[in-house]
């Protein structure tokens, strides 16, 4: 720590989960100095930004360019509506600032490409938020890298979040209007199920697919080349009304001849006692590996326990800290972070190809 600069971070919009800017604030190499957003954003955005700024005793500036000009920033943390992630990140990159952005990278692949170009052109570091430093994911990586299961041949991630997302499918009455996506996401902020906040509706594959596909990228070091996917709106009325998936399965053809799959869903709170069943399965030339992502955990049960409380509590989860450590190292040593802009763009390309595959009912090439 001694001799290393504490990096000054501006938060560009903090309208959904605030785990990202909190992780920045919690790491000793970083300090939050300002929250900023565009003045033309709706009131609910300004309210959330102001609330976060107040909690951290930093100013809230309704002018991104002014905040960048006046606060001597080294980096920004972007946690806006999904469709604004790339735009805000590009504006920061053009000012020479490093960027940490929340997932999904964007709602459009062309925006991801624009960001990749900006990152390279301005020679800055970009980290897409991910879960690759969870203890079990690290364990999977170490086991595969050690060669104990031989050459990797297949990798599968089952990724089910047992969360609700508003009223269940089939509950809308005949004359009721369809659920407005953004209104539902704004309302969902209180229980943290607003991962898809933004104007444009997004399915679970698009919102959360980065996490399991991030694992696959980490474990294989390869891109996905071709996908075949099926998706459906199986659980939640908001997903039905907005024609986006809450359950998906994707067959993957990955580099080096590796095959695999991703099964993902927001399967409802009743479907698992904890946050969900999340597993990595890997087959190698000499054996196999079955990893539960939630380990290690501690089970806690007690009288009058609220139904909404997870009975099993994850422990020793240093993902957020390690991501920030990784990003500081990346800046200090001019190396690439664990999931950079190009990786994020390639994962987004896999997601968009999967959605296209589902639409046409055929396998789709992923262009890199």
């Amino acid at each position: 720590m001694e001799g290393l600069k504490v990096l000054r971070c501006g938060v560009l919009s903090v309208v959904k989960h605030d785990y990202l800017p909190r992780a920045v604030a919690a790491h000793s190499r970083f300090e939050l100095v300002v929250v900023a957003d565009d003045a033309d954003q709706p009131d609910w955005v300004h309210e959330r930004n102001q609330l976060f700024a107040d909690e951290f005793s930093v100013p809230y500036i309704k002018n991104v360019a002014k905040a960048i000009a006046e606060y001597d920033l080294d980096l920004v943390a972007v946690s806006s509506q999904a469709e604004r992630h790339c735009e805000l990140a590009v504006r920061a990159a053009e000012e020479g600032l490093h960027v940490i952005a929340d997932k999904p990278m964007s709602t459009s692949l062309s925006e991801c490409d624009r960001l990749v170009d900006a990152v390279y052109k301005n020679d800055i570091k970009f980290l897409l938020w991910n879960r690759n430093y969870l203890p079990s994911v690290i364990q999977a990586k170490e086991a595969i890298d050690s060669g104990v299961i031989g050459e990797l041949q297949a990798v599968h991630v089952d990724f089910y979040f047992s969360k609700d997302a508003g009223p269940p499918k089939g509950t809308r009455k005949v004359n009721d209007p369809p659920i407005d996506w953004l209104e539902r996401q704004i309302e969902a902020h209180t229980d943290g199920s607003d991962g898809g906040v933004g104007v444009q509706p997004m399915g679970e594959l698009q919102i959360e697919g980065i996490y399991p596909l991030g694992y696959i990228h980490l474990l294989t070091g390869e891109n996905v080349h071709r996908v075949f996917a099926r998706t459906t709106s199986h659980f939640h009325q908001a997903n039905v009304d907005n024609n986006v998936d809450d359950l998906a399965s994707v067959s993957l053809e990955i580099g080096k001849g590796i095959v695999g799959s991703l099964c993902i869903g927001r399967i409802g709170a009743a479907s698992h006692p904890d946050i969900g069943e999340i597993k990595i399965h890997a087959i190698g030339s000499k054996g196999g590996l079955v990893i539960t992502e939630a380990r290690p955990e501690v089970s806690i049960y007690y009288r009058d326990q609220p139904l909404s409380e997870f009975k099993n509590e994850r422990i020793a989860n240093e993902n957020d800290f390690l991501l920030m450590d990784d990003f500081a190292r990346s800046i200090d040593t001019d190396s690439e972070p664990i999931l950079n802009a190009q990786n994020g763009r390639d994962i987004a390309a896999t997601v968009f190809a999967s959605l296209e595959s589902c639409k046409i009912g055929a396998p789709v090439e992923v262009f890199h």
Partner: protein
């Protein structure tokens, strides 16, 4: 009391003989081995030992129904004989020749023991009782150790295809398969059902010798069921890294299957597994292999 004849290997006979006391209203009376193993260790005095030829010519009065546990070729041949002789038969494992059997009015129950495994039965009950709501995704991982006597790929993938068709109560409308370029003993397939239902199944037969692994997850509209070996592992410490040892489900699947067969003969129960189920599963197996070979999605309207 239903008198049962068994046709199978001596090794299998030991297992079936051990189930004698667990069967209601049925008993073993004749055993026709498919090999020359040590018969004294199989049924002992429980049943007469004879040949298959004698069973179907001279011993017809000694049994009411026949249980066949053999590979597909033998099973199909014996099933036809049993049908000709009007003997109810529980026959496994049937393969691509199942269509040629033609059971007529005689009870032919194809052996699908995987449906009777306690964990699978529990999942099925949760679907049947509506606890889970409409099935959405069936996810299966089945990993087997390398075997000196290799089963065919059809034998390996048929059980899980049957389970998928059984859980969704229909055949898939699309089939997509991937095989590993470097591992002939690996295949994964992706089945699509009407109303958005889907199944993703990966099957490897290349684990080092030792234990196998099975995991089945059924995600429904209102809930989910997880039948996963990973949850059912205990730990053994004997130096170095501990070993995982799976809690045994015994041979309950054979007991339940046999009892259903007996109960159907007795008229106490309706048959839950039919020859049509086997034929459907075999057709989907063909589509899975066709997709793997052609690298094309096989869709319902394209089927031969």
């Amino acid at each position: 009391m239903i008198r049962l004849a068994l046709i199978g290997s001596s090794e299998k006979a030991k297992i079936y003989a051990g189930l004698s006391t667990r069967l209601h209203r049925a008993t073993w009376t004749v055993f026709a081995p498919l090999d020359s193993g040590d018969l004294s260790k199989a049924f002992g005095s429980l049943a007469k030992v004879t040949t298959i030829d004698d069973l179907f010519s001279q011993k017809l009065d000694d049994f009411d129904a026949v249980v066949v546990d053999a590979d597909a070729d033998v099973a199909e041949r014996i099933a036809k004989e049993a049908m000709n002789l009007s003997k109810p038969a529980l026959v496994g494992m049937l393969g691509q020749g199942a269509e040629t059997i033609g059971a007529g009015n005689v009870l032919l129950m194809p052996a699908h023991p995987w449906r009777f495994i306690p964990s699978i039965q529990a999942v099925r009950r949760s679907v049947d009782t509506g606890k889970l709501g409409a099935p959405g995704l069936l996810r299966i991982h089945r990993w087997l150790p390398l075997s000196k006597i290799k089963s065919t790929i059809i034998e390996r993938i048929l059980p899980d295809i049957d389970l998928a068709c059984w859980f969704f109560n229909e055949v898939p409308d699309s089939v997509w398969s991937l095989q590993s370029a470097v591992n002939d003993d690996y295949i994964q397939f992706h089945l699509g059902f009407t109303n958005g239902g889907m199944a993703m199944i990966d099957l490897a037969a290349s684990l080092p010798s030792g234990g196998d692994y099975y995991s089945l997850t059924m995600i429904g509209e209102k809930g989910a069921a997880y039948a996963d070996d990973h949850h059912n592992m205990n730990l053994l410490y004997s130096g170095g890294q501990p070993s995982a040892i799976r809690s045994n489900q015994g041979h309950a699947e054979l007991v339940h299957q046999l009892q259903e067969f007996v109960d159907v003969i007795d008229g106490k129960y309706e048959q839950t597994v039919s020859l049509a189920d086997t034929i459907c599963a075999v057709q989907v197996v063909d589509q899975v292999l066709e997709s793997a070979n052609t690298r094309e999605v096989v869709k319902k309207e394209q089927r031969k």
